[in-house]
Symmetry: C2
Subunit: 362 residues, 2 copies
Amino acid sequence: MTSAPKRTRTSKTGTPTGTEIVARTSVGLRDVAKAAGVSTATVSRAINKPDIVSEELRLRIEAVIEHLGWVPDAAARALSTRRSGAVGAVFPTLTHGDFARTATILQHELLAEGFTLLLACSEYDPEQELRQVRKFVERGVDGIVLVGNEHLPELEKLLSRQKVPSINTFVYNQATHGRSIGPDNRKALFDVTNYLISLGHRRIGVIWQSVANNDRAAERLAGVSDALSAHGLSAWPYQIAKELSSIGEARTLLRRMMSTDSPPTAIICGNSYHAVGAELEALAMGLSIPGDVSIIGYDDIEIMSELPVPISTVRVPSDQIGTRAASHILARILGREEDTQFECKPELVLRASTAPPRSPQA
Amino acid sequence: MTSAPKRTRTSKTGTPTGTEIVARTSVGLRDVAKAAGVSTATVSRAINKPDIVSEELRLRIEAVIEHLGWVPDAAARALSTRRSGAVGAVFPTLTHGDFARTATILQHELLAEGFTLLLACSEYDPEQELRQVRKFVERGVDGIVLVGNEHLPELEKLLSRQKVPSINTFVYNQATHGRSIGPDNRKALFDVTNYLISLGHRRIGVIWQSVANNDRAAERLAGVSDALSAHGLSAWPYQIAKELSSIGEARTLLRRMMSTDSPPTAIICGNSYHAVGAELEALAMGLSIPGDVSIIGYDDIEIMSELPVPISTVRVPSDQIGTRAASHILARILGREEDTQFECKPELVLRASTAPPRSPQA
DNA sequence: CGCAGCCATGTAAACGCTTGCATCGGCCGG
DNA sequence: CCGGCCGATGCAAGCGTTTACATGGCTGCG
């Protein structure tokens, strides 16, 4: 006798009235189980830990899944496991080669471990960074990758409150407490500046990007400053660019800088685009590089080495940052503790654009 | 004996033994409700449709949320609403300015409507594209943005089966049926080639990237071919680069090309990096541009206009692609139907690198 | 030959929200 | 003064998985 089954769930949309609802929600685990003649638990196990399910059932289940075109629902899974299998990353921008490369590597490494990378960019706006991180936390990411050491206090609070492992990239600074992976920005430009000084330069110009909301650039600028003042060189002609990486603007700034009474004999640029702009304009002005002026940049893009005068620069190991960040965050997710800081040593790449000044200076 | 109460939910982690479990699951909607002395339904409504809840309660609830630091669980919400509030986008790479820019705009536009952009890259590998899309579908994205018209059949099947609205970007092709937003690649290079022909060029060289898994590049190459054969020009010296956008490799190819008996008087390059490499090498060889050889590229990056001889190119309106793609996918999500195709007209940017050949040819 | 133990499987509760429906006071018009 | 209606709130049933625990059939050893 068919006693009314106490169906808790309705999977067949059994409308007693004749109105068959068409908008069927796509197949679910339940449907697979039914079609395969097993319980939902078994299906779940078949896909999550295939080895504890009998060969026969596993194959049958796989066939059914394939046939029904079932796609597991990550939301349901996340809800159930309290694990999302996702890691969030917020970069200031993606139109910058280093960040894009790090993001790509990161995604690659995470994917290999079964994690998804959720990517967003803050456009150098701390508020937006916070907003993006919040979205990620809502989505239950298991870890977060950030850029830089400075974040809004709400962000720090959010992360610690929710106990989401996070890591700051593109920075390394003994002084700060947070976990970080990247170059020691300050030291990098300290070294660059000392290199120029050791070549004999005394009038050293600087073309730099804005350091607002950019602790990396600020640190580097501080490095320049450190080295200069260590040699009693305090005042130097310098220009801050409005745009982040505009070749055109760098040209304008260089021209202005070289048109003064006693132009610098060397110029340090905040990034590769500035350096490229500086070189192009200097050449257009008929100056010789490095004869009249040495130029050095920061970070390396292909064009730097292909221009008529290849430009010296600092190469940031963004690939390494990606792999280290990935392994760090994965380790933390899996409960292992990791070194809190890791320095990715940048490489000083010397090319033809830097040389001793033509005539020794006071 | 203390009869076990039939607690459905454990929110207080009431371990009868003295061992207080510390790993408290972070605060939930339930805790907020309790603290505010209202039902969970009211809290839910207070945050989702604030206007149907009394002012007083709303304020009280907001205060409690703030105080408890509650972050709603997107997974639970998604499970419940069958809406994720996320849109996925898979680009071939992010290290390419156009894609990065489109992604940024896309994120921006979606955010404004309360949607999150999930970003991934396929590294020009259809398999990986499929994998990423599958991940997105599992995560329940409400829409998907892709690049190009050609995808694995499984991908198409997956999307149609799960009824996920999707849009192909960076392509526009009357012939194909799919929805797409972008430039008409074939026509763009048909026009470029005709322009060179109209200048009087007859020996036109081509430096191109591989067209494997890149229907956009393939279409553009076809456009070149169309125009040439329309003028009875069938054979032309051409070189396919191994790397996608290597200035260095382009230099090699150009040198090889210009070292033949009858070198081309004009060269069409598959992208801006090829064009930059071509110019730099030509200049290094002592050739004059456009005197000895005209050069034209595809897509516009700042360096193109800053080199000693500014390079003619085609500007792809990647911003527009981003905004259109966003509004299209949002419209589809909200149930509105949209135009299935939209052409983002590319702009032919003529600079100093193109001119009639020095001496008229046969 | 019997029972402990083990393996493969099933049962059902729980994950943290949303939302249809029930409920409960007013308030307004008759 | 009363009934109906409406707006605000509470109740509880899901949403689609996972997983602790129960079950039941075997195996192997005493």
